[in-house]
Amino acid sequence: MTIKSLFLALIASFVMATTAVGQGFAGLGDKAEGFEKVVPERAIQFPKDFGTHPNFRIEWWYVTANLTAEDGRHFGAQWTLFRQATQPATETPAQNHWSTSEFWMGHAAVTSAEQHFSAEKIARGGIGQAGAKHEPFEAWIDDWNFAEMQVKTGSQPAYQINAWGDNFGYTLDVVSTGPIVLHGDAGYSVKSDAGQASYYFSNPFLKVSGTINVDGERLQVSGNAWLDREWSSQPLASDQKGWDWFSLRFETGEKLMLFGLRNNSNQSFKSGTWITHDGQTEKLAGPLIELQPTRFADIAGRRVPVKWSVKIPSKNIAITIGALNDNSWMTTSISYWEGPVTATGSHKAIGYLEMTGY
């Protein structure tokens, strides 16, 4: 048994014992029979929605951080925890049991201009090896943790995030400096013209300080981070094969989230959120967004766009987005590109880019 075959089992074949091959990227386009549907006008609830949603098929906790070391070098750090179910939870799960239908996967990475480290952990649910809870907030897999600090330094929540892998690791102290931001229509984020959607909110106002270890070197770092929470039962249409997702923090204090979901004929379903410095949001519909790759790089045998032109005329945005490290490839069971980026042009920004399905 290879770890790969396990992942194919857990993710690609997903819920359908009868479906041999999943549809969409990582099976996210599979049908969601039995699971709870994502519907508009379901109010996002805090802090409850920081925790798990056992009736939904998939969800994730996602932190990306742009960091600068004391010597001026730039780094990116990623902490991700996925929860996937092969069956909807029919009853309240007992504590301390081995789940036969819930699986967890953690990804962690550190990116510098020269190197990219990534690691992966997998676990079954129920037994406590991996999980998430909302009060106080804690998400974990083995000894990777993303947890709310019990002792707060101010009124805003503070977290500690840590993970490690071969030749890298990090411990980051994170303090929230702004409100939580809901994407789409009050958190209902449409993903395709056919109506696939997810619940999606972010905290883009996170200040970070901490240490990272790279190749035996221990560095003090500081910077900013972005937290995403998203859950769904069928977030992709069956013909959608991947996405390009951007999170940017402008020097002026505004933030921008935008994504394009590519289908088999390379048509992109675009959407975005414009976030003011105090957390006010404006939904950006697809037609308002111009998203164009301008340079490709050969990475892991694939042709991956590493430079993008982004134009949002309504916001006078005309920027070029480039990677800190072209080779930010996650060599995990399901591989994808995820790394820090900088934007130049009409506006200057730093942020993260995630590209799947290449």
Binding site: M1, T2, I3, S5, L6, L8, A9, L10, A12, S13, A17, A20, T86, Q87, N96, H97, W98, T100, S101, F103, I122, A123, R124, I127, G128, Q129, W140, D142, D143
Partner: protein
């Protein structure tokens, strides 16, 4: 032939093709010689290739299998009581950064058979190996299989037999939604594997785990357990596999010894075959030279010819060797499967390196063998008188050279023995002895034949002995090859049988009781002993205590035993007092192993001072026993002495005497939830060990047979090459009135005589080889010496096989002689017609 070549129009400027045609036409005229040469070369290459192939395949598989075993024998965390523990330990340890994976083991009895269910978590059991009693490798499961394995009702993988038993059990017990049972032939009988949830549900062990496996690579002693688990769990080191190493090493040794033998025999065969082929053509080569073909051109052509032959024969040999190896491979795969319980690839791929190696050895061997012939051709006098062959002068010269070489090799062997170190030196001793014996053979045979001649009175018997002596020249290489084959066969099978006997006796001694069990704790041990005392089918329960002590600061193991007939009857001693048992039982006197006796030169009636809880105590040695494979010094005494001197001695080990081993074992397993690996049925263990040995020996035997076969081919080739010369040798006798039939019979008798003499000479060589293997090679390889056992019946069998192969080789040439047309014989005398 000479006539036709004389007519060949060849001059200094003669076309290469004409000369080549003249030279190579020999093979067309002597098809049988060509065939035998190719067959001889091909079979030597085949044997070489086969051994190389088997050796490398076995080694590659050892590496793979050993890796698998390491995966299985991982250190683990178990509860202090040896019982199942709360599974919350798993997540707690994982969250503390300790890379553990859970195992739950449950056992139940079904129709007097214990079935052990092992539950695992495939998500964290990443290296894909697990198991408890044997070792199991489960190959990749695809996505659907993985989900089926995890999701209710789950899947149990079991051996074919056990799968049937499981199905029967589930239906007889009316188990609700039983797991799907899938037969997997690679699994050990009596065990099944499923998801941790499946086994917990079936065995009603929800929430419990038996052990947490640690990564094999992790430094287990550094594992820092979080509270409260540091109070309840303890580290169990990976299982020791001492016996396995001994067995695999002996396997290696066998193959290595055979590799050496095949190389030597092959060299002799190639040398003899090529030498004769050149000898046979000397006259035609002379004619070519007289006709004006230059020496350089002739030698160049011969090198091309020999290389071509070697490539053809080598290629055939490689393919042949591949088939031999693939025929033997199932046995090797089976013995490795026996050794490791792991799946070994049973298929062989024809490596490029074998092609290159096989053909290279063929070419090198041929060219080396032909060197003498090339030399003769280049030094050849063009006017050599083809009259009475000066055979005696030539024979005396070659025998003297060979005897000198024998002395050189013997000296090298002695130097290697006296000053060399390590396994290579040990093999150097063996190679030196083999070569020395081979090169001494012609001298010995000649001397013996001279004695025979002295005592022969009738003219034909005198001719018989005298002629045998003359034929020695042509046959000596084949006879040397035969002696090497016989000697090594006798030597290796002597070593192997001696090893087997020793091992059997050792097992008999050490496993004199029927069941051995290791309780999880002292308390459980007491409970089992108490229970066993009440069982009618258990005759005796013999506790085996254990302690560690020191002699002068060096560690020594203390093993206690209960006075019982089973010990008195089976134990044998290297040295003991006549009242050894009585004195041991009365206390104060002890038994020590050979290692201790040698290390401290403390034999019977001397005393040793052991560290005890109450300070140093002096004990008298009354017996010394052999203890193969144990590197440690060991002292045995009665349990009471152990407990009195070392109060904290372990008391978890028991020997049970019973005639119903399997039932008692099953009963104890189900009664006390003892892991199957902790209670061993010695009959099963013994037959398991012997089975492995037998399979290893099958390969040795097959290779022995093949080696003898190749020696027979060498003999056949030599005889056939000599057969044309024989006609002029026997023609005068025929003219004097000895019938062809009688002459043929004498020819056969002569070969048999030479073969018998060779076989007799091979016996001391075989003993020397056995000695070399047990007293030199084994000591270098394992650090202890095996006793030298002699097996005369084996010599007889191998000797008879040697005679048989010589007979088979000699029959055709003898028949050919008998059927020689008179015209051909009388041609010998003809001046004209």
């Amino acid at each position: 032939m000479t006539r036709s070549l004389t007519n060949t129009h060849a001059s200094e400027q003669a076309g290469l093709l004409v000369v080549a045609h003249a030279l190579f036409s020999h093979w067309r005229r002597h098809k049988i010689q060509a065939i035998t040469l190719v067959v001889g070369l091909a079979s030597a290459t085949a044997l070489w290739t086969a051994v190389q192939a088997l050796n490398s395949h076995a080694r590659a598989n050892y590496a793979a299998a050993a890796a698998t075993v390491e995966g299985v024998n991982r250190p683990a965390l178990v509860s202090n009581e040896g019982t199942a523990f709360d599974q919350r330990a798993f997540a707690a340890l994982r969250r503390a950064g300790i890379d553990v994976t859970p195992v739950i083991v449950g056992r139940f009895l079904h129709q007097n058979t214990v079935i052990e269910l092992t539950g695992i978590d495939p998500v964290t059991n990443r290296n894909g190996t697990f198991g408890s009693t044997g070792s199991v490798e489960h190959t990749a499961l695809d996505g659907q299989q993985m989900l089926a394995f995890i999701q209710p009702p789950g899947v149990l993988y079991a051996s074919t037999d056990t799968a049937v038993q499981l199905e029967a059990y589930f239906s007889s017990q009316r188990i609700e939604s039983p797991p799907k049972v899938v037969a997997r032939p690679d699994l050990t009988n009596g065990m099944a594997i499923g998801d941790v949830t499946t086994v917990q549900r079936l065995m009603a062990l929800e929430g419990r785990l038996s052990k947490l496996l640690l990564p094999a690579s992790a430094p287990a002693e550094l594992v820092d357990l979080p509270s409260p688990w540091n109070q309840t769990l303890r580290l169990e080191e990976a299982a020791q596999q001492v016996d396995l190493n001994g067995l695999t090493d002996s396997f290696h040794l066998n193959l290595t010894a055979f590799g050496l033998l095949c190389f030597l025999v092959g060299l002799f065969i190639v040398y003899s075959a090529i030498g004769l082929a050149i000898e046979d053509r000397l006259s035609s080569i002379r004619t070519l030279r007289i006709c004006g073909v230059s020496r350089r051109r002739l030698l160049g052509l011969m090198i091309v010819e020999m290389t071509g032959l070697a490539i053809i024969a080598g290629s055939i040999g490689v393919v042949l060797g591949y088939f031999i190896a693939s025929l033997l491979l199932p046995d090797i795969a089976a013995s490795l499967r026996g050794l490791y319980g792991a799946r070994i690839s049973g298929s062989l791929s024809l490596d490029t390196s074998w092609w290159v190696g096989g053909i290279a050895i063929s070419v090198l061997g041929v060219l080396a063998a032909a060197l003498g012939g090339f030399f003769r051709v280049s030094k050849m006098s063009l006017l050599e008188f083809k009259g009475t062959d000066a055979w005696r002068a030539k024979q005396n010269k070659t025998i003297t050279i060979k005897a000198t070489l024998a002395l050189v090799f013997l000296t090298l062997a002695l130097i290697s023995y006296g000053f060399g170190q390590g396994l290579m030196a040990a093999f150097g001793v063996m190679a030196g002895i083999l070569l020395a014996a081979a090169f001494l053979l012609p001298l010995l045979l000649k001397a013996f034949l001279a004695i025979g001649l002295r005592f022969a009175s009738t003219p034909l018997s005198r001719w018989f002995w005298a002629d045998a002596r003359q034929q020695l020249t042509g046959l000596s290489l084949a006879l040397m090859a035969l002696m090497l084959a016989l000697g090594t066969n006798i030597g290796v099978s002597g070593m192997v049988s001696g090893f087997r006997d020793t091992f059997d006796a050792f097992l008999e001694e050490r496993l004199s009781a029927d069941l051995y069990l290791l309780a999880a704790s002292k308390n459980q041990g007491r409970a089992i002993a108490a229970w066993a005392a009440g069982q009618s089918e258990i005759e005796a329960v013999l506790p085996i205590t254990g302690a560690s002590s020191q002699i002068g600061g060096q560690p020594v193991n203390i093993a206690g035993f209960e006075d019982h007939a089973s010990y008195r009857d089976t134990w044998s001693f290297l040295e003991a007092t006549h009242d050894v048992w009585d004195r041991t039982v009365s206390g104060g006197s002890v038994l020590v192993n050979e290692q201790l006796a040698r290390r401290y030169t403390s034999w019977v009636n001397s005393t040793i001072s052991l560290e005890t809880a109450a300070g140093p105590q002096v004990f008298t040695i009354v017996g010394v026993y052999s203890d193969y494979g144990n590197p440690l010094a060991e002292v045995r005494m009665v349990n009471q002495s152990v407990e009195a001197n070392w109060p904290d001695a372990t008391q978890r080990r028991f020997a049970l005497i019973t005639s119903a081993g399997d039932q008692v074992r099953a009963a104890i397993i189900s009664e006390f939830d003892l892991p199957g690996s902790q209670i061993i049925n010695q009959a099963a263990l013994k037959s398991f060990s012997r089975g492995i040995f037998e399979k290893t020996f099958t390969i040795s035997d097959a290779l022995s047979g093949l080696t003898l076969g190749v020696a027979a081919i060498a003999m056949f080739t030599s005889l056939l090459a000599l057969s044309s010369a024989r006609i002029s040798g026997v023609a005068p006798l025929w003219a004097m009135g000895v019938a062809r039939k009688k002459l043929a019979f004498y020819e056969l008798k002569k070969i048999l005589l030479l073969a018998i003499l060779t076989a007799v000479a091979a016996i001391p060589l075989g003993i020397a080889i056995t000695w070399c293997l047990v007293a030199v090679v084994n000591v270098e390889a394992f650090g202890w010496r095996l006793p030298l056992h002699l097996f005369p019946s084996q010599w007889a069998i191998i000797g008879l096989l040697g005679l048989l192969s010589a007979l088979v080789a000699a029959i055709y040439p003898a028949l050919k002689l008998q059927k020689t047309p008179p015209a051909l014989l009388s041609k010998v005398f003809a001046n004209d017609h």
